[in-house]
């Protein structure tokens, strides 16, 4: 049909012109030159039309809500890549791709991680030597192993580690380096601190250059932050209950409780200031966070205000 089939050269030139004009669209001299180039050969004009058409098809700025496009494309691509690597390409390719991802993508993203979970997801990974990693919702961990050692990096979220006593286990968190010795412990990275709870064995906290090594004994809960490491006398929430699909609280502030629940669901979840300090004790099932929220009006003098599935606010009774 068409008079001329654009060759690679005219297509590449057309792309160059389109980009130049997009960058400096108002420059009349440039527009003039581009017009000359287009009329020089029919192939040029044909290539130009196609490139402009393609550019319009790929233009995401024109669609309302397109602000989400970049984020959506980027994070879905990372996950897709990860899934492909895990399921389709097999172990060797997976190691290669993990290294490639770590090099090429921004290191802050959870989806470059070796092990990761999405919102509401909990997963268990058993390493070949028997070390067990359990990741809670929205968590990401990197792993580098040698024959004698596992080095883990907690990038976000929460995990429980059941250590193999034969192998040194180091967990790098934002607030300190933890070393496990054959026991079991949980680490959770919050926005301003890291919490560590040990159920079996003991864990060393290394903060090189800042403080001598401290030891967390079985049954203890500690808080690590930029200032130091402190043992907590009492906690308002069972640190391990999530591994059984539960939240177990003891007189927890309502707003802290909602912060915890919101880790397991999408969207906004908050409460008004007047009820933030109400206390809540109980055992809650994690499998359905929406159902869990319905319990609140039955136990506390509060009501749920729900605009959409994604926006829920707990308020005092009027």
């Amino acid at each position: 049909m068409s008079a001329a089939q654009p060759d690679a050269t005219s297509v590449k030139q057309a792309i160059q012109w389109m980009l130049k004009l997009r960058e400096n669209g108002r420059d009349p001299a440039l527009q003039q030159q581009c017009a000359q180039w287009r009329s020089a050969r029919p192939e040029n004009e044909q290539a130009w039309q196609r490139v402009i058409h393609l550019q319009q098809e790929l233009d995401l700025r024109t669609i309302p809500g397109a602000g989400l496009a970049l984020q959506t494309l980027e994070s879905s691509q990372r996950r897709l890549h990860r899934r492909q690597a895990l399921k389709l390409l097999g172990g060797v390719a997976m190691l290669g791709s993990a290294a490639w991802l770590a090099n090429d993508l921004d290191a802050t993203s959870s989806w470059t991680s070796d092990y990761a979970t999405g919102t509401g997801e909990r997963r268990t990974f058993r390493l070949p030597d028997g070390t067990l990693l359990q990741l809670n919702t929205r968590s990401a961990v990197d792993l580098a192993s040698t024959e004698r050692q596992h080095l883990l990096r907690l990038k976000q979220g929460e995990l429980m580690i059941t250590c193999n006593p034969q192998r040194q286990l180091l967990l790098q968190t934002r607030d300190g380096l933890l070393e496990g010795f054959g026991g079991r412990f949980v680490a959770r990275q919050d926005s301003n601190c890291t919490r560590v709870s040990v159920s079996h064995g003991r864990v060393a906290i290394h903060r090189p250059g800042q403080a001598p090594t401290e030891w967390i004994e079985s049954g203890q809960n500690w808080r690590l932050d930029a200032q130091g490491a402190y043992r907590l006398d009492q906690v308002d929430m069972d640190a391990m209950a999530w591994t059984e699909g539960l939240i177990v609280t003891r007189a927890i502030r309502l707003s802290d409780f909602l912060t915890q629940v919101s880790r397991y669901r999408h969207g906004y979840l908050g409460c008004s200031d007047d009820i933030a300090d109400l206390r809540l004790s109980g055992v809650f099932r994690l499998e359905d966070p929406e159902q869990l929220l319905l319990v609140l009006p039955r136990t506390l003098p509060v009501q749920l205000r729900q605009l959409t599935r994604w926006w829920v606010r707990v308020e005092g009774l009027a």
């Binding site: 393609l54 809500g65 970049l70």
Partner: protein, 169 residues
């Protein structure tokens, strides 16, 4: 197009094997059944004659492409909903806009498959955010010249895919 006979044989010999492979890959019987079906439909639509010395390897290649398409769609939906969740309610797009956008995103994601992450990112910053080359260079910590090359490469890549059918004829 493959003759009905050969496709028939292919189907009866290998359908249950393909279904099992898809099932173990996807971890979901219903999706596996759909994609096994789609794989054979895809073969029916092919123009060239099939000469299959290793039918299972061939089937797996076709099916793998479909699996990746399937996952891409899933991940796009998931990522989109997550992005949406952080958006104030008032600005959230209507249901029709969402559908439209997701369709477009899927087409673009598919086109960009195989591009290097940095090339892809530079291109997307220009297409989604409308950033100037200098701003992209600053954000990615690379030179403007490299940004220009990345974006031009990405566009050429898309061009070849977009107009591939017309080039064949």
């Amino acid at each position: 197009m493959p003759s009905n006979d050969s496709l028939q044989t292919l189907y009866s010999d290998h359908h249950s094997w393909l279904h099992a492979w898809l099932r173990s890959t996807l971890g979901n019987a219903a999706d596996a059944a759909d994609l096994a079906q789609d794989t054979f439909v895809r073969l029916l639509q092919r123009r060239e004659h099939l000469q299959l010395n290793t039918p299972r390897a061939f089937l797996r290649t076709v099916a793998r492409g479909l699996v990746i398409d399937h996952w891409r769609r899933e991940e796009l939906h998931r990522a989109y909903l997550e992005a949406l969740a952080h958006m104030p309610e008032a600005q959230a797009p209507s249901a029709e806009t969402r559908e439209l956008l997701l369709e477009l995103l899927e087409r673009i994601a598919r086109m960009l498959d195989g591009l290097k992450p940095k090339v892809r990112r530079a291109f997307l910053l220009a297409q989604c955010e409308g950033l100037k080359h200098q701003a992209i260079a600053d954000q990615m910590g690379i030179s403007v010249r490299t940004v220009e090359r990345y974006i031009a490469d990405a566009l050429y890549h898309c061009y070849l895919l977009r107009y591939a059918d017309e080039c064949d004829q």
